[in-house]
Amino acid sequence: MHPPAAPAVRRRDFLRWTGITAVGLGALGLPGCSVLSGGDSASGGRGGSGVLTVATQRSLDNLDPHGPFAATEQIRLFGQQVFDTLVAREGGQLVPAVATSWENPEPTVWRFTLREDVTWHDGSPLTAEDAAYSVRRQAEADSPLSNLWSALSEVTTDGPATLVVRTEQPLGTVLANLSLLRLLPAGKADAPDFFRSPIGSGPFRVTSFVPGDHLELAAHTTYWNGAPAAGGLLLRSIPEVTTRITALESGEVQLTWPLPSDQIARLRQNGDLRLYDSPSYQHWFNWFNCSRAPFTDPRVRQAMWHAIDAESLVANVFPETAAVAQAPITSAVFGFAAQRPYAYDPQRARDLLAEAGLAGGFRTSLIWNRTQAPQIRQVAETFVSSWREIGVEVVPQELEEAQWLERLLALDWDMDLQTNVTATGDADYTLGRLYTSAANRLGYANPELDTVLAGARSSVDQAERERLYGRACQILWEDAVGIWPIEMRMNFATTTDVTGFEPTPHEAPELRTVNRAV
């Protein structure tokens, strides 16, 4: 009655992976040729091969980088390897990628000059037409990223190597948004089964995809920015944390994240592993559905926050991996402005509830999805326990990812606990995308905030934008539309034979330079 016994499956998977290792070997020497040579199958995952196995917690079910799941970490990780962007983010700076240069002749017009040596995985050249198609497709897609492009008015080309983007109002986030916009081949991407094995122009090409299980990538050896160091990548999803960490320790997997906080100290002792950490764009929040009583009253939301002891949470549950949050975005994100923390004060919380006419407490519910982050259930249970201290009874509801996402987007919840990554590193991605009245993600409508966010988005003066996002942070924080308890650090672990890995503040590192010592 328990889940299917592992051994049989394991062995089959083992054989498949070693097979893939051999395929990767073939791909390294003979691009495009998948020869199953059997090679080092006896040595299992450890045998040097140039194919890197990367395990993540969340499963990759879909390969559309503009689609409804475009903002999820797993799609961004995959997209980073397979597709190009016009602009890239490097250490906080936006730098040229497929676009070699750009100018902003008028506030609402952006002209990009494109490289001419970029080819798709099928060999055809990438043109401005493809770029224009991609911008249009993303802007019109049913996707959480489309909102970033709501000010877009038209995209045109001026010859094969010039892209012109016009916006209705000035848009300060054009470059940051483009750093997330994956380029797709015009026309081809409309084919019904294109996304089963999509073609991109990035450093790796898709060779095989089993939804929910694994994705195999082979090096795109003619990549314009230099062929990737590894011969191929195998992206696996292993939702079970223990299994994933065990796979890393046994060498079956060579790179993985995130790491459970409780195991970091132990993993550090392991001489076969190397641990990386960096500031992150990832923060936790507990949203209130501000359109549902009693969370329509800011005092109730503030009361809920005063009941939470974030410092104890960091000290006991995330000793190595988090810090108390100071804003609705992390300190590494552009636009961050530190706010006054909500002190842990149950008495103040009870007073605020009494002021709001709820001295006797109330009953509500909390939804979360277990695969969102390691330890999310513990955070949820800790919160539920804390809220009972102030007389609020919370029904915990742990949901499957699909069901959770559906209810989240349909606003069918009282409170929602989750983590979120500011993927572009720019406050607009999180604040401007999630908290406007138009986005209506948590039933919160505040015309002042809308004005501030629209102003920040439409300004091309970065200092002005920073000031406006600071104001937005303050409004959200003081109005307590959610609780922002902690911000995370990113933790990665590799086996010691992995070279060239650079930790990133987000969960989609580019793996072009990563290789395994043979």
């Binding site: 249970e381 800790t382 539920v384 029904v395």
Partner: protein, 293 residues
């Protein structure tokens, strides 16, 4: 079984027990009694609060002292709840689910089985084909489907398992009813003009009750495992209700650092199910009506 059935009629005691068989029976019975006692009265002695967490006390090994000065006999879990209290409360939940399922699923099976067996014909066909269709579907898959639709709650777990198990009882009861309805005392009752409901109640029911009880005993153990499985998968009881399955699932992530969270409830679960299995098996040997004709 074949040689047992050939035993002379009128043998009151079954076959001579294997050496040690009696001991096994009494150990199993004793352990089951202990389980029942703990499930019924344990939570009164060791109260468990599924909501209250205490993160400074998380992941304490067995026999540790918590920040409030109490001793955590089996350690604490990942949010600092006492594992012993959790196991004791889990015993109650598992018993509740097992009893509820036997009551609902077994009751439905008993009624439908008697009706199908006694009336036969179209009624029998409809009921039993329905059961066959359901049996052809993998049990745990059906349970997962139903549980996902209904959502996690104690009552829903009972409903799911009852839906899953009624057929087992219905088939058994139907068989016994078929064997009984042609017997002389039933015929004579019918000739005397006794009404059908009364025949079912007074003449058929006592005959089918013994095999029913034996099967129920075996099923209790299977129900406990089924409840733990559903909870393990996150489809059973809600997160704030203690369940062995939930505790084991929580402990999975800590097998290397805090083995006690998953291991101790797992061991208790295994022992209880084993004891119930042995007990049911031995009861079948002792009470099998075929030995008493």
């Amino acid at each position: 079984m074949a040689d047992l059935q050939a035993a002379p009629a009128g043998v009151a005691r079954p076959r001579p027990r294997r050496p040690g068989g009696g001991v096994t029976f009494w150990v199993a019975a004793g352990f089951t009694a202990l389980y029942l006692l703990v499930a019924l009265f344990g939570p009164l002695v060791v109260p468990y609060d599924g909501i209250a967490t205490s993160i400074p006390d998380r992941l304490l090994p067995p026999l540790s002292t918590t920040s409030t000065g109490t001793t955590a006999w089996l350690g604490t879990d990942q949010v600092g709840r006492d594992l012993f209290a959790q196991v004791v409360q889990g015993a109650r939940v598992s018993l509740l689910v097992a009893a509820g399922t036997i009551l609902v699923g077994g009751g439905a099976g008993l009624l439908l089985g008697m009706v199908a067996g006694y009336f036969g014909g179209a009624v029998d066909s409809v009921i039993m084909r329905l059961g066959d269709i359901q049996l052809a579907f993998p049990g745990i898959l059906l349970a997962i489907l139903l549980a996902a639709v209904l959502g996690p709650s104690l009552l829903n777990v009972i409903i799911v398992l009852a839906v899953l198990r009624w057929v087992i009882f219905a088939r058994l009861v139907r068989g016994s009813t078929l064997a009984t309805r042609g017997r002389e005392f039933v015929d004579s009752a019918r000739v005397l003009g006794v009404g059908t409901p009364r025949i079912l109640r007074r003449y058929i029911l006592p005959a089918v009750l013994t095999p029913f009880v034996v099967t129920a005993t075996v099923q209790v153990g299977l129900m406990i495992v089924a409840e733990a499985s559903l909870s393990f998968l996150g489809l059973g009881v809600p997160p704030d209700t203690a369940s062995w399955g939930t505790t084991i699932a929580n402990g999975r992530e800590y097998l290397t650092t805090a083995w006690w969270i998953a291991t101790l409830p797992g061991a208790v679960l295994a022992l209880v199910v084993l004891a119930l299995g042995i007990l049911g098996d031995q009861m079948r040997d002792r009470l099998d009506p075929k030995l008493r004709s």
